[in-house]
Point group: C2
Chain length 456, copies 2
C-alpha cells in the first residue's frame, strides 16, 4: 500500500493535453461519420463470455480478459478440477463475463438482438476502448480505442466506395499522408483456384498475411511446409512479385484469374476503383495490393488497410466486406462492410509529426487575480459575467499567494490574460487587464476586457 502507485502495464493515463489531442482525432472521425449518415452505438465494456469466445480463433480466446465471478467464485468448481489445477476447465467456471475484445462482435450481437427495430441498411459507428491481454510493445496497448463504422443489410458496392471516401475525408482533415491498400478476398479465392490449392486456403491466407515480414523466401518455405509443389509455389510467388501500377495489376489479374470467383473479385475491384477514381487527394494514395489478406477474418469481399507514408508503424486502419457476420448469432445472410480506425496509432503518429492545430490546446482564456477577500467576491461576480459571455475563466483562489506564483500558474496553463482586482479597482469600478504574452497592462471596463480577450 505504501509503495509507489502505478498503473497496469499496457494501459495509460491521459492528462489534459493528451485528452485534448485524442478528442481532436475522435471529433474529426465522428464528424465525417455523421456526414455520411452514420449513427452512434455504444455497447457495454463487459460482455458475456458466451458472446466473446469462439469468435476470434484460439489465439484470440486466450487474449480475452475474463472477469472473476462475484462472491464464491469456486461454487461450480469440482474438487477434481481444483486438485488437478485444470486451468482450462476452471477458467470457464470461475468467470462468466469478459472485457470487449473488439467492436465488431458486439455490433453483430446488437444487430441480432434489435433486428426488428432497426432500419436496414443500418449505418452505425462506434468509438470505444477494447482490451487484449497481449504483450505490450510500440503501437500495441492492452487498453486501446477502435473507431468503427459499418453498414449492414446491403451488398451494394456503392457502400464499399463510400467507406473509401470516408477514409479519404478523415486523413485529409487530419493532414496525414497515407497509402490505402485495397484488395478483394474473392481474388485470393481465385488465386487458390489458379494455383490449385483451395484445400490449403486458410494456410495460404495466413502466409500472404505475413509476406511483408517474412519476405519471398519465407513465403516459399511456408508454402512448401503446407505441401505445395514447385508449380503451385511459382504461381503464387509470381502473383506476389508482380509489380506495376493499379491498372497493370488489374490487367495481370484478368490474365491469370480464369475462374468464376476470381473473375467476380476482379470485377468488384475494378468497379470500385472506377467509382472512387475521381475523388483522390494528395494525402491519400490508393494502391491495389495483391498481397493484402487481412488475416483469418470474416471478410468475403473488398478489404482495406491503411499505413502512414511518414512514420513506420503497422496499419492504422483496416476493414472490409463480410457476408455472414451476424450468422454466428443466428441471423444469416446479412451482408455488410466496415472500417476501423486505430485511434492510438494515429495519435502516436500525429504526436511524432506534431500535426495538431494550436487552438485545441487552448486552456482558460483569463485568470482573475483578486488581492483580498472583498475583491475575491467581486472577482466571482465578474467571472460569472465573463463565463456567460462564453469565456473560459479561472479565479485564483488563494489571495495570500505571491503574485509571481500566480503569473507562473497562468503561464504553466497557457493562459494569455490576467485581470487584477485590488482595492483601487474595486473602488474605481474598473479592471486591470494584463496581456501575459506582451506584458501590456491597461485599465478597462468589463465590456472592453471581454471584447479584447475575445478578439485576441
Amino acid at each position: 500500500m505504501a509503495g509507489k502507485p502505478s498503473i497496469p502495464s499496457g494501459t495509460r493515463d491521459f492528462g489534459p493535453e493528451e485528452v485534448a489531442k485524442r478528442q481532436y482525432i475522435i471529433d474529426t472521425i465522428k464528424q465525417v461519420y455523421h456526414r455520411y449518415g452514420f449513427q452512434p452505438l455504444e455497447t457495454p465494456v463487459m460482455e458475456n463470455l458466451s458472446t466473446l469466445l469462439g469468435k476470434y480463433g484460439d489465439e484470440g480466446d486466450k487474449l480475452v480478459y475474463r472477469i472473476l465471478n462475484s462472491g464464491d467464485f469456486l461454487k461450480k468448481a469440482t474438487d477434481t478440477d481444483l486438485q488437478e489445477r485444470n486451468i482450462a476447465q476452471l477458467a470457464g467456471v470461475v468467470s462468466e463475463k469478459g472485457l470487449r475484445y473488439d467492436l465488431t462482435v458486439p455490433f453483430a450481437r446488437y444487430v441480432v438482438m434489435h433486428q426488428h427495430e432497426l432500419s436496414f441498411p443500418f449505418r452505425r459507428y462506434q468509438i470505444q476502448p477494447v482490451w487484449r491481454a497481449d504483450r505490450p510493445q510500440k503501437g500495441r496497448y492492452r487498453e486501446f480505442y477502435q473507431c468503427d463504422a459499418d453498414v449492414i443489410g446491403s451488398n451494394s458496392l456503392l457502400l464499399d466506395a463510400e467507406l473509401i471516401l470516408m477514409i479519404r475525408d478523415v486523413f485529409e482533415q487530419l493532414r496525414m499522408n497515407v497509402t490505402l491498400r485495397i484488395n478483394n478476398r474473392k481474388i485470393l479465392d481465385g488465386l487458390a483456384h489458379y494455383a490449385d490449392c483451395r484445400e490449403q486456403f486458410n494456410e495460404l491466407v495466413t502466409t500472404l498475411d505475413k509476406a511483408d515480414k517474412i519476405g519471398m523466401e519465407g513465403v516459399q518455405k511456408e508454402l512448401t511446409t503446407i505441401g505445395l509443389n514447385e508449380e503451385q509455389i511459382n504461381k503464387i510467388t509470381d502473383y506476389l512479385g508482380f509489380r506495376g501500377d493499379n491498372k497493370q495489376k488489374l490487367h495481370y489479374l484478368e490474365n491469370i484469374l480464369q475462374n468464376d470467383i476470381g473473375r467476380q473479385g476482379l470485377e468488384e475491384l475494378w468497379e470500385l476503383k472506377d467509382r472512387v477514381a475521381e475523388y483522390w487527394s494528395n494525402h491519400v494514395e490508393v494502391e491495389i495490393d495483391l498481397s493484402l489478406a487481412r488475416g483469418l477474418s470474416y471478410y468475403t469481399g473488398t478489404i482495406y488497410e491503411a499505413v502512414s507514408r511518414d512514420v513506420q508503424m503497422g496499419s492504422i486502419l483496416g476493414g472490409g466486406r463480410y457476408d455472414n457476420l451476424t450468422g454466428i448469432f443466428g441471423l444469416p445472410n446479412m451482408s455488410g462492410v466496415g472500417i476501423s480506425f486505430g485511434l492510438d496509432r494515429i495519435y502516436d503518429i500525429l504526436n511524432e509529426l506534431n500535426l495538431y492545430p494550436a487552438t485545441i490546446l487552448r486552456s482558460s482564456d483569463v485568470l482573475f487575480i483578486p488581492f483580498d477577500l472583498t475583491c475575491e467576491k467581486a472577482a466571482l461576480h465578474y467571472a460569472d459575467e465573463f463565463r456567460h459571455n462564453g469565456l473560459r475563466v479561472e479565479v485564483y483562489p488563494d489571495v495570500d499567494t505571491k503574485l509571481g506564483k500566480k503569473f507562473k500558474y497562468a503561464d504553466g496553463k497557457g493562459i494569455h490574460f490576467a485581470i487584477m482586482i485590488g482595492e483601487e479597482e474595486f473602488k474605481g469600478g474598473y479592471l486591470t487587464l494584463k496581456n501575459l504574452q506582451t506584458g501590456e497592462q491597461m485599465k478597462t471596463s468589463q465590456k472592453e476586457a471581454i471584447d479584447r480577450i475575445k478578439s485576441s
Copy 2:
C-alpha cells in the same frame, strides 16, 4: 452458442437516439467545466487491485470487479487453499487487476504520480464509466458513468462556491428543477461534541445518512443500539427535527454549537451561503440540510448533494471538500473539493420528463435515391459536394429496391428530404428534391437544393 445473445445484467446497449441524448448531457456538463477552467483527465479502466482495495471500506472491496490473471491463474495458489476453497485468500492470488470503481481514487493516484508536473491548484474533470458488482435496480446499474470535477491544492472557500455555480449552470442548461442540499462535515463533528458522543462519530454519521429512509423512530432506535443515553438522543433528534429556512437553521446552529470545530463549520457554511446568495436561479434551490452526511467518505468540510424536484430518484449529484485524499498514496495535506454528476440518473430523469431539445435527435439531412447504376455514380458525386457543404447525406445503396421502401427508410430515420436522380434528371442536369414532410416536390439545381435543405 446457438442460444439467443444477451448482455450482462446491470449493463446496457445505447442505440443512436440514446447515445445522442447521453452525449447532450455530457456535452452540457463538459462545456460548463471548461468555462470554469477545468481540464480533462482520462485514466485506464483497469487499475491495479493495490490501488483500488482498502479505499471504499469492506463493503466496497466486495463490489470491485476483479480481472482473472492471464495464463496459469492458479500459479501462486497453494494446494491447501485450493483444497479448502479459501476464497478470500485465492481471490488475491488469481487476480491483480480490477475495474475502476469510481473516479476519485484514480484521480488521487494520478495526482500523486504526476505531482511534479502539475500546476496547483489543479482543476481536472473526468467523465468515464465505473463498475460495481451491486444488485441492479431502478437507477442503479453495474456499469455507469460518473462526471467528476475536482480542484486540489487549495483550501479556499472560493472554490466551494465556484462548484456550486457550476452545479447551477449545469442544471439550468438542462432545464432540470433540483434542490441542492449543502452541509459541512465540521458541523456534524460539532454535533458529536454537543451531544457528547465523539467516540461514536462514525456510527452517528451512518445513522444520519439513512435518516431519510428509517425516519426519526429508526434513528432513535439506532442511537440507542450504539449506546447513547436519552439526553444525547434528544439533542440529536432535536437537531434533526429542526425546521426553518436557511437563515433560521444557521441561527439555530449558532445556538447549539459552542465548540471550536462546530463554530468553524458554521462559519464556513455561512460564508459559503453568503458568497453564492446573489446567483440563484429558478431551477436550482439551495437548502441547508442538517441531516446531510454523505456516508463514511473522505469529506472533511462542505458537502453537497442534489435531488430532482420532479422525479423521485436518489441523489443525482454528490461531492464535498476533503483534506487528505492523496494521503492514501503518500502525499498528505492536499486539500481539495469536488463534485460528481450521476449521468445515468440524470438521463433517466430527462427521459421521464422528455426534456431533450429536438435538434439533438436529427439524423441525416437528405437521402439520395438513384434509379440505376449510372445515376448512382452521379449521386455519389453530388453527395460528395453536399457533404463538403456541411450536410449529412446518405445515398440509398440498392437501386432495385422499391421506392416506397426507400421513403419508409427515410421516415424511420427521421430524414426530411429526398433527392431523386433518374435518367431524366441525369440527362437534364438537374435534381428532383422532395420534402418528405409536406410531400412537395420540385426540380432544382445543386446549389438551390443545398440552400433549401440548409434553411429548412
